[in-house]
């Protein structure tokens, strides 16, 4: 088991390293460079000045040298300065991360709270209208553009009904009610799209379990249908469902970029978008790497959970 964790972690770290090179190169390909921005801020700068500045900042070095320089300072804790926010990158990043987690965790909980019972009921009445409805809903969830759903929700709840704000996050001092009002629409957008898929997982897991003999035993012993469903079957169906849900952990961390952008939710996703669009190189690189690292971490946790629940990996101690 320990070997398994080690192997997977090593793989993740390798991917992260490779991605750091890729991201660094890609960001370098974005329009402009820091000196151009300085020039536009100060028109009196001559090209000789610009060349000198470039030399000072090491921008005339070949790519790999710049990368290595960046890597060394990053590993020593210096993650650079964000041009857009005028703050060290980490100071901008960490709050954004917190906001994303708030959003995603809430959305995840809401989605599960609705999807799991829904899936159970669908499994309890196969081929009923509810069952078909759940199936259709699942398809709809993966087919709908999230930004469209967001716009529709804004249209309904903000423009027409005026109940909820069209965007933004409540400030830290605001009360819980105000915070919830701002959370409502983004959470609704994300959760709606995933409920369908999650309920389908639950449904198939439940169907598997309901076929088993111990269910028949419970029924024969006189347990009510309700008890059979919600106590016996549920417990056993949850295991495969948890493993499948864990696969979504990665998504949890990388956030819903589009949703955050539409609702102006100051999370990681919006940060990445703003950084890329605003040519804030330092912030863009670190934010992207963070997102990558967190996604990889999420997948690693999912892999570990899988490994824990799969006795072959746990017992034999062999990787795969």
């Amino acid at each position: 088991m320990g070997r398994f964790i080690l192997a997977r972690s090593a793989q993740a770290l390798l991917v992260l390293l490779i991605m750091s090179v890729v991201i660094y190169a890609l960001i370098g390909l974005m329009p402009g460079d820091p000196i151009d921005l300085m020039i536009s801020a100060d028109p009196k700068m001559t090209s000789a000045d610009a060349a000198l500045l470039r030399e000072i900042y090491g921008l005339d070095q070949p790519l790999y040298r710049r990368y290595l320089a960046w890597l060394t300072s990053a590993l020593q804790g210096d993650l650079g300065y964000s041009r857009l926010f005028g703050q060290p990158v980490l100071d901008v990043l960490l709050p954004a991360l917190g906001n994303t987690l708030t959003l995603m965790a809430t959305a995840f909980i809401v989605a599960i709270a609705i999807a799991l019972p829904l899936g159970t009921l669908a499994a309890a009445k196969p081929r009923s209208l509810l069952d078909y409805g759940v199936n259709f809903y699942a398809f709809a969830g993966i087919s709908m553009p999230s930004f469209w759903l967001a716009l529709l929700l804004i249209m309904l709840f903000s423009v027409t009904l005026g109940w909820l704000p069209a965007g933004g996050m409540a400030p830290a001092e605001a009360g819980l009610g105000e915070k919830l009002r701002h959370l409502a629409l983004p959470v609704a957008t994300i959760a709606t799209l995933h409920i369908g898929a999650y309920s389908r997982y639950m449904r198939s897991a439940m169907l598997e379990v309901l076929r088993n003999d111990y269910i028949r035993t419970a029924r024969a012993k006189g347990a009510s249908e309700r008890r059979v469903l919600w106590v016996h079957a549920w417990r056993n169906a949850l295991i495969p469902v948890v493993t499948v849900l864990a696969l979504d952990f990665g998504f949890l961390f990388s956030g819903a970029l589009v949703t955050e952008t539409i609702f102006s939710w100051p999370g990681m996703g919006k940060l990445i978008f703003d950084a890329v669009m605003g040519n804030d190189f330092n912030l863009a690189i670190i934010a992207l790497l963070f997102a990558t690292a967190l996604t990889l971490l999420g997948n690693l946790i999912a892999d570990l959970l899988y490994g824990l629940l799969d006795p072959r990996i746990r017992g034999a101690g062999r990787a795969q």
């Binding site: 974005m30 398809f139 087919s143 709908m144 553009p145 716009l151 249209m155 934010a287 992207l288």
Partner: protein
């Protein structure tokens, strides 16, 4: 002694027809393709072009002249939807084909050569799957092409934005196809007719080209159909964010970009493009699902 059994393709079609949702979806898609193909015709019928700006007639309600009203620049919504549909569907298809090619190459090599090649390729594929998709796509889309050596004029050209989107989305969407193709290749590889080919001294390349690839057609078709949906969604998101298809070239995605700013004035502008994306994608998903069942080898006996 000849048994008049149906060919495997005919059998699959029969099974497909039993999936009512899939059949309806297929018909809907066909209708949509016909409609967007007929865009020039409808343009002629209505008497004005899709890009014709008419600032006196902004945000008009539906009328005979403008069956779905006009947008914020007075352009006919219906025509823009149809032309945008062409772009969205075409890029979706092109990107899906791109993804399918890469995915087939990867999956075929991994499945056929097995061993270290397989492990390497699959670890690579898994790593791609494990990455945060949208942030990376955004970076790819934001690249300044002049830094790669393209002339400034070429870089700004609107059809370049189309090719770029196709390449970017194709570069990321191949993983599903790769996995499906690998699985199919693994099982095909053990079939006796492949052994027989080896027994007459056929080279690996010949076997892959002549014996395995033609038999991969059904899984590939299923994989492509299932991936077109996500490809179209990706393109529309990128276009929505301003990084995909650039205006004035319309796509369903970028038609929604302005819709957000106008949501207080003209909420109806947001409805149609998104609805069309939704319908297209869900139809492709239903058709793909139906095809998957239809080609299922378990049922083929």
């Amino acid at each position: 002694m000849n048994t008049t059994s149906l060919s495997p393709t005919a059998l699959a079609l029969q099974r497909f027809r039993r999936h009512h949702l899939a059949v309806i979806s297929a018909l809907l898609l066909l209708a949509m393709v016909l409609a967007v193909a007929a865009a020039p015709l409808i343009e002629m019928l209505l008497g004005h072009s899709a890009n014709q700006v008419d600032l006196y007639n902004r945000l008009a309600s539906p009328s005979w002249q403008h069956p779905l009203g006009t947008d914020e620049l007075g352009r006919d919504t219906l025509l823009r939807l149809l032309y945008g549909g062409r772009v969205s569907l075409l890029t979706g298809l092109a990107a899906a084909v791109c993804a399918a090619t890469i995915g087939t190459l990867v999956g075929l090599s991994a499945g056929y050569f097995s061993g270290r090649t397989d492990t390497l390729l699959m670890r690579f594929t898994d790593s791609i799957i494990a990455l945060p998709l949208l942030p990376l796509l955004i970076v790819l889309a934001a690249i300044d092409l002049t830094k790669l050596g393209l002339s400034a004029q070429l870089a700004g050209d609107e059809s370049i934005s189309l090719y770029r989107i196709v390449v970017i989305v194709g570069l990321t969407g191949w993983t599903t196809v790769a996995r499906l193709v690998r699985g199919a290749t693994l099982s095909l590889r053990e079939r006796e007719f492949v052994l027989a080919a080896r027994g007459i001294g056929a080279s690996d390349w010949l076997i892959m080209r002549r014996h395995i690839l033609p038999n991969l057609l059904s899984p590939i078709i299923v994989a492509v159909t299932l991936s077109i949906g996500s490809v179209i969604l990706l393109e529309s998101v990128l276009s929505f964010l301003g990084l995909g298809i650039q205006p004035p070239l319309a796509s369903w995605g970028n038609m929604l970009t302005n819709a957000q700013q106008l949501i207080w004035e003209a909420p109806q502008l947001a409805v149609y493009p998104g609805l069309l994306i939704f319908i297209t994608v869900i139809c492709f998903n239903f058709v793909g699902d139906g095809l998957q069942d239809a080609f299922d080898p378990k049922a083929e006996n």
